[in-house]
Symmetry: C2
Subunit: 335 residues, 2 copies
Amino acid sequence: MAVTIIDVAKRAGTSTAVVSYVFNDGPRGVSDDARRRVLAAAAELGYRPNRIARALRASHSGFIGVISPDSSNPYFAQLDRALIAAIGARGATPLISHPGPAGMTDEQALRSLLGAQIDGLVMVPWEGRTLEADLTQSSTPIVFAHHRPDGARGPFVPADDEHAVELAFRHLREQHGHERIGFWAGPDDRGPAGRRLETWRSLTAEGDEPHRSGYSRAAARDVMVGLDRSALEPAIIAATDEQAIGLLAAAHIRGIRVPDELAIVSLDGTSGTDCTVPALSVVRQPVEEMAERAVAALIDGTVDRVETRGSLVTRESCGCTPAGGETTPAGAASV
Amino acid sequence: MAVTIIDVAKRAGTSTAVVSYVFNDGPRGVSDDARRRVLAAAAELGYRPNRIARALRASHSGFIGVISPDSSNPYFAQLDRALIAAIGARGATPLISHPGPAGMTDEQALRSLLGAQIDGLVMVPWEGRTLEADLTQSSTPIVFAHHRPDGARGPFVPADDEHAVELAFRHLREQHGHERIGFWAGPDDRGPAGRRLETWRSLTAEGDEPHRSGYSRAAARDVMVGLDRSALEPAIIAATDEQAIGLLAAAHIRGIRVPDELAIVSLDGTSGTDCTVPALSVVRQPVEEMAERAVAALIDGTVDRVETRGSLVTRESCGCTPAGGETTPAGAASV
DNA sequence: TTGTACGCGTTATCAT
DNA sequence: ATGATAACGCGTACAA
């Protein structure tokens, strides 16, 4: 049986209230003598406050829920870990759920977490998914990160989509003189990837169509391996790192030289992109900052409307630097 | 204020016990009529059982703790997600904590989780770390995955270390005729990476020394970029994928052709390795299986002593297949 | 079927 | 000021 507050009180020769006051620094003072005895007793017995009981009483738990796609995609993994770190840094405990094709639905995950008395929830929804209305009805505060489905309300910390594409596009055009700049899109056009695609459409010639594949490396690689050479622009912006890495693999398989014959810039900038062959030029999404803001919005009630900004990191794949180089052009973050 | 079991009981004109029986399918039967009324009342009011209260009463919470390194390493990320999936598949909710240099210590993470009434804990410790004794004293069941520090007790689901190195070594020697096979090790020799290194030592000529770098891609890349060409064996086994990817990047920067001038096999086989340039030959660790077993050991009390076995996946970097190919040699899993 | 004691920590209330 | 007592939160399971 676990050590309870009663055991500690008994051993310290005092009441449970005093023990509680000691452990919470309040709401009432405790004499030095009593405090010492309580601390000693707690140490001897190995007392550990039961957070469940505390949560029941206090009706807030110190738990923050996180729902994010169970994806092998490093971008989501990175966002996930950044959220976990941000939550932990504020003394709360993250409660994770990964709904996905294989397991729970978003609603089940939500229900499960809401029942756990979480103080708040950070939701990173699957792109394109919509959510049932009862989500928004909950009194538990929810913030969305990366994507907010149509119709859902609540604070939203988006990735940098529009501006990032502009950055990449202008770099390829102005620094490298590319006139035809293609876009490698996902299978559908909802969510952030859709916004990225739309921005590209607004910048390129009317009638230009993007390439499309699933979001995995292998999917992008396989599509590009089967592509007619003439269909390939001399420069391509990839909606995600995963796809860009797949394109690199396909270029290697087909003997297409990057960046000489094909320049590539990608739009996530996860940490893996600096050691690809050749190293990828990217617009780096400020994932840690996004996580920090999402958690701040939740805990402090900060409604932060300032959008995050990606920054251009030029390496070899756009043609900027030789193998091994990396630069972050001054002022690149502002377009 | 949230809807409680009392509200539902009142509205259904019954007692709280009956409501509880309905929601838990027991431990006692309920008449169809009463069940209907309870369900109707619950639906109307939007009742959601409070897991915290349930946990307090039942003294088991449905929470499973996971402590794993807050690493950007995809191997740990993959293990992490596999654990989360395995826990979710059994109807439990994972409670994650990522101690690390920046944030909590292992002990703090542990304390935080133990206070949350978790039913069990899967621990993926930092290699080389030791744990305070009070960990093992806890009545909460703990299983270790990937690594178990010296002196710690409890079920342990290791990665395939010894056998994986043998597999890689024999493949390079017997299929490719390499006589000098180097090893790329981590900065220290504790934990799984150390076991991998030891196995290599037992297979190679006396006196051969491994290369060393940190575990990150960039660390391995930078060390290899600075390495004297004569110090490089024609074939190298990398302790981890991350290091192998760094070696690929370094080979590209220095113009060393893989696999012609340098063959590489790596020992994690995370999903990223199939789209590197060139694609990495690996011994794939059965991460999902490890996660499944760890959770089974925890929930079912299964003490599974059968070790997991990695399997060889040969791609381009060892010289087996041309760009784009991949094979899993029959019987490769048994050495 | 119903009533209710129980689990554990918090805090309002009473006592000193 | 400081300490002690007890009600409370909510679901569970035993006694009635």
